[in-house]
Amino acid sequence: MSSSSAFIRGDGTLLAVSWDTALLSASLSCTVLFHHGKRGTEIEPDFIVGSILPRCASCEKLIPYQFLPANMRTARTLFEKIWDDHLVAQPDGRSPILYIDLHLVHEVTSPQAFDGLRAAGRKVRQPLRTVATVDHNVPTEPRGTPITDLIAANQIAALQRNCKEFGIRLFDMDSAEQGIVHVIGPELGLTQPGMTIVCGDSHTSTHGAFGSLAFGIGTSEVEHVLATQCLVQQKPKTMKIEVRGRLAEGVTAKDLALGIIGQIGTDGATGHVIEYAGPAVRALSMEGRMTLCNMSIEAGARAGMVAPDETTIAYVLGRRYAPIGDEWDQAVDCWRNLPSDEGAIFDKVVEIDAAQLCPFVTWGTNPGMVAPVTGRVPETKSMQDSDRRAAELALQYMALEPGKRIEEIGIDRVFIGSCTNSRIEDLRAAARVAKGHRVNSNVRAMVVPGSQAIKRAAEQEGLHRIFQEAGFEWRESGCSMCLGMNPDILQPGERCASTSNRNFEGRQGRGGRTHLVSPMMAAAAAIAGHFTDIRNWEFH
């Protein structure tokens, strides 16, 4: 039998197609697939996931996409729905042109883009869809303290001039809404389900928590979006990460993210858009989902997404730029249709058991180098060639020996902040740990809220007092020591427990040694002076 023949029922539905010499048959529901033996049999729905393509329910062989029944091929993922909805043009022989709903801008990756516009005599096509803030360079000392770094000050001034010249809304240093761009977008209701969102920053993946397609771009693409409100994009592949079960007490969205990256590697999702699904993801708050999606880029993903649900809708409702009146009702109707259709096909599926996760600590110089807090720095001998070399270089930089217990690693600094973990829920969790304790005398610890709004909210709840009484510094909002573009940096050799997203060499300051952890784990490390398992913590 040729591989292209198909059996069509009288009503037009697909009954079976051949695949090589065997027969692929599908039940009417098309949720169970057989490629041999059971031609036309009606079977209970039982779709097998766990691979690039569905497998034959009988012999477990992969079934090629083109041989899937038509109604399975048209089932679309969340990503595909948003992608299709934003296609402006698909010119012959060229990559598709995608419309961008929201373009977030900050001071570091935009000045050359605005220069490009000026040089070409172009305008910003959609100033209302473009929103700017300053975050990377801003000092976290009390506002009004002069910026002593003149090059940084110049970059901030350039953004102020550019926003004025091109008519762009700017949440400036002195604004009550200033904050990390990936914190204020959601906070102001700018970030909404179903949108395409870009920013000249890799952690734009954060916004995918709302069921939007959000990804980081370079400065040339920033210029492209400013000029055209569009991007030329090759269509990424899709990956579903299904997290079964529930996260245990003390195991947070950050640990889930680190656990995933530890499993699939820092290039495990390159070329893919991840959709996080499963009960453990559904149970996360919006803050938790943002933490999870934020770290997608650390697995190499183009973007990370969570399908919108009631949690999402409740978060967006009433925020400043959220839809209002009839627009709200229409928007919610659209959002409810966004989740991936049953039977939608992902290019890759990864399954994670939440019960297997624990609080994690990174030991090396990329976010995939993780160990359970109860574990040890790994032995490098058993590793594969290039991994072993990378691990040896990492341990040399981190000044750690294989076999050392993670809980015995002492620290000098603690940073609670960044677009990964600086939201109100993060600060509440850290404050709960800090309450009634004192920061270890060998440790300098700082808390940097993600935005001015979070800072105000935390102060209303009295969190700042808990931190200050425990000996933490309570600072102004910004990216701060996540990347150390402002004065908040590690000194050479200092070791830091950080709630940020990257432990690359020198990331937080030349010669600095970064260990990535959750906010609770960071607060506990500040008090103990070394890493400690939060599950055994004595809360006051």
């Binding site: 402006v88 043009a89 022989g93 990559s95 042109i97 419309y99 990756t109 000045p111 050359q112 220069d115 172009r122 209302l128 869809r129 990377h136 090059i151 110049n154 350039a158 209701g189 000249g200 920053d201 890799s202 980081g216 771009i217 370079g218 400065t219 040339s220 693409e221 210029e223 492209h224 000029a227 055209t228 409100q229 569009c230 030329v232 090759q234 820092t266 290039d267 390159t270 070329g271 880029i297 183009r302 730029y321 209002i324 009146g325 627009e327 990329n366 290039s386 991994d387 070399r389 990378a390 270089l393 150390g484 573009m485 050479p492 990257r502 690359f504 060499e505 020198g506 990331r507 030349r510």
Partner: protein, 203 residues
């Protein structure tokens, strides 16, 4: 954009995996508002000690790799931050291309906008190039974008994948903003169907 057609040049081996953009161009150099002059800062923390003195052991400071215009490195090159400064720094330093077995998406995208080529070969092919660059004096490669092929004078030859549209733009040095603006009518239709929300217009 400077077109990329055929390039022949000396190869420098950076035998590390996961070379992130924080290493390619450390953050303290991202505060400049120009696009030029970043070459002096490329791989800064590896090239220079904390005292600002040249690290003679770093590969790019070995005399035999001086003037190299092709870098070959381990998998997942350019991971991390989206900073296009990484591409600007490599290009300004004198590189025209990087060879690796995989590239981070944003870095690869940024490269195409700057006439800079990311050449993706298999792990075994990358290992061959690294070894030859280490063992053979004045080792050179020719990268032919039209043919999507690299070859040396010692008989090594490999092809690499490249999106046809990206190749077209690189070969001709095209500005893709101009190309997108040719679709003005379609963009306008899309915008008419998707107006800016009331909240963005008024709040």
């Amino acid at each position: 954009m400077k077109p990329f057609t055929v390039h022949r040049g000396r190869v420098a081996p950076l035998d590390r995996v996961n070379v992130d953009t924080d290493q390619i161009i450390p953050k303290q150099f991202l505060k400049r508002i120009e696009k030029t002059g970043f070459g002096q800062f490329v791989f800064y923390d590896w090239r220079f000690g904390a005292d600002g003195k040249k690290n003679p052991d770093f590969i790019l400071h070995e005399p035999r790799y001086e003037g190299a215009s092709i870098l070959v490195a381990g998998k997942n090159f350019g991971c991390g931050s989206s900073r296009e400064h990484a591409v600007w720094a490599l290009a300004d330093f004198g590189f025209r291309a990087v060879i690796s077995s995989s590239f981070a998406d944003i870095f690869a995208n940024n490269s195409t906008k700057n006439g800079f080529l990311t050449v993706k070969l298999t792990d075994a092919e990358v290992a061959t190039v690294v070894r030859r660059a280490q063992e053979i004096d004045d080792y050179e490669l020719t990268i032919d974008l039209e043919q999507s092929e690299v070859q040396d004078d010692q008989g090594f030859r490999a092809s690499f994948p490249v999106d046809p549209f990206v190749r077209h733009c690189l070969l001709n040095g095209l500005d893709d903003i101009g190309l997108t603006l040719q679709h003005e009518a379609e963009i306008a239709v899309f915008e008419a169907q998707h107006p800016v929300s009331e909240a963005l217009r008024t709040a």
